[in-house]
Amino acid sequence: MTLAADRWPAYPEPAPGPSGPGGPGGPATRTGPRSGTRTVWRLELAKLRGQGRVRAIAAACLVGPFVIVAGLNVQSATPGDTAFGQWVHTSGFAIPMVILGFGGQWLLPVGTAVVAGDIFSAEDHFGTWKTILTRSRSRRELFAGKFLAALTFATAAMMLLIITDLLAGLLAGTQPVAGLGGQLVPAGHATELVLVSWLSVIPPVLGFTALAIFASVASRNSVIGIGVPVVLTLAFQVATLIALPAWGQQVLLSTPFTAWHGFWEQPAYVGPFLYGLLTSAVWFTLCSAAAWLVFRRRTIGGAS
């Protein structure tokens, strides 16, 4: 197993393409920064697709709602303590709403944290930052590409879950369902409301994605990257039990997960949803900015 030294180096001619800035004549293609990010983004998505945890989450999103519907069918008890709980046997539209109300506040943040909390710190774990940072991609492109990949996963998983939830509900029955204002909501309008309610929780999910990324970048550790959103989710649940002032409630990233209640009232109100958008946006921006600031000038490797 030798180095075949007698055949070095003799590079084959590079393929014709836009040349670099008249510099060293390296790789013949010098793509612009946006397509550089896109390259990293596509590579990261490919890496994600091969991950076991990603496939597991996709499978859960695909079959979960149908399993829940089947489970509800075989017994007559109804989920208590949650809005729409008592209607699950009466109308299929209640089922996606129960899933959203019951599981949304912790399942969704954990689901995105499991991927986003690892995508950066995995490189620390394998020591491969120095390998990928010494290629023709800047730190900004690598950061943006990985960030976008995490956001893409979160959004795609949400979309899949929304579709399967709605389908499972439609299969269970399209009878009108009683809204939160006591009004009877016919099937067409109920479909819209289910869709809009589910879509309304995408912003806080993206907020949790950014939080997981910040935790993993700052700690260089996947356990912390995934654990911080999980712990915060629990902390938020505890905090809602305390009588916080209105602004205190609004600042928690768990609050936007219940903003959809207003859509089902009569007359519908969107105040909590709009404030929820602001809350999610602030969390997203602060966490993303903080992650970038930590990353951009950090020392890579054990050099000391």
Binding site: G23, P24, I132, T134, R135, S136, G302
Partner: protein
């Protein structure tokens, strides 16, 4: 407007400190094109930090670093175009095969790097192991994969941090030949090591770092001219007489060793005269070995190894070159 002096690497006044520790102290580092340049120093001298600064893995607190005449800010994402190599042991994704790892890296580079993968693997001698997961690679195999990954970028500047680490002597010879061929074709090579002997045989120029400062920088022949006498180990039939004779011979210094025999400090020609004189006096030479080369002794002089002998301490322990040196965990 970039100032181009034609140098491949130009680092000026580079300083970096980590908390209380100064890793680099106003280091000037210049590498000319087409040269094999050695970066030398004991462990902890700052070699890895300096090479990391070239790659942008470490951002200096002071000073500028120019590659091909451009600083990182001026060049943007294309700063490392034509530059390749690795710092400390190359690391890869252990759950992917060697080939897939290179495919990921080629994907990051863009262009037609992917078409070079198979050839690079062959040249690195990893054709058989290409499908195996990197998790099962030995240290030597990972070094080779690191070289293959570097060659994918068609580098004009190759930066290698202790590349002979974990490679057997035959592999080291191959590496040496390969690097010399690269230099002949105009590729600039920077090679770091703590072992002067290896560097001596392959490098044209050398920079010696000691505790973060540059102790010496220049061409190797200039260094040899400055170097003190080599150190020899001598066993004779009559050590006492040999010592007496050394006192009478100019340019030769001899001292006794604890375990018998003599340590002799002399240039080659003086030594030849000395040995002939010994024979004439009836003292037989039973063993004569070169212990420390001139450059090794200069190196130790520059880096202040313990011991007060001007030409290097006798009986110094030569750092062993083993197949699998301990791999230290990188501290984040």
């Amino acid at each position: 407007m970039t100032e181009t002096t034609g140098q491949v690497v130009e680092a000026r006044g580079v300083s970096k400190w980590f908390g209380e520790t100064t890793a680099l102290d106003a280091v000037d580092f210049t590498v000319s094109p087409g040269v094999v340049h050695g970066l030398l120093g004991p462990n902890g001298a700052g070699k890895t930090t300096l090479l990391s600064a070239l790659f942008g893995l470490v951002l200096p607190d002071e000073g500028t670093v120019r590659l091909f005449g451009r600083t990182r800010a001026e060049a943007g994402p294309g700063w490392l175009d034509g530059v390749a190599g690795f710092v400390e042991t190359p690391r890869f994704y252990p759950y992917l095969s060697g080939r897939r790892n290179l495919a990921v890296l080629a994907g990051l580079d863009g262009g037609d790097a992917a078409s070079l993968i198979d050839e690079a693997l062959e040249r690195a001698g990893l054709a058989d192991a290409r499908g195996k997961r990197v998790k099962g690679y030995s240290l030597g195999m990972r070094q080779r994969l690191g070289l293959a990954a570097a060659m994918l970028r068609r580098p004009r500047l190759l930066i290698l941090d202790e590349p002979t680490n974990g490679i057997d002597p035959a592999g080291i010879r191959d590496l040496r030949t390969a690097l010399r061929r690269l230099a002949r074709d105009g590729v600039t090579v920077i090679l770091s090591s703590h072992n002067m002997t290896q560097v001596e045989e392959i490098c044209d120029a050398v920079t010696v770092l000691h505790q973060g400062k540059v102790a010496f920088a220049g061409r190797l022949d200039a260094m040899r001219a400055d170097a003190p006498d080599p150190v020899w180990r001598l066993r004779t039939s009559d050590d006492a007489a040999a010592r007496e004779q050394a006192k009478r011979t100019t340019g030769v210094k001899a001292e006794g060793r604890d375990d018998g025999g003599l340590v002799v400090f002399a240039a080659q020609d003086r030594l030849d005269d000395y040995v002939l004189t010994l024979a004439r006096d009836g003292v037989a030479v039973r063993g004569l070995e070169l212990d420390v080369t001139p450059l090794e002794s200069l190196f130790f002089q520059l880096t202040g190894e313990p011991g007060d002998r001007p030409a290097g301490p006798p009986g110094r322990e030569r750092p062993p070159v083993t197949e699998e040196p301990p791999v230290t965990e990188e501290v984040p």
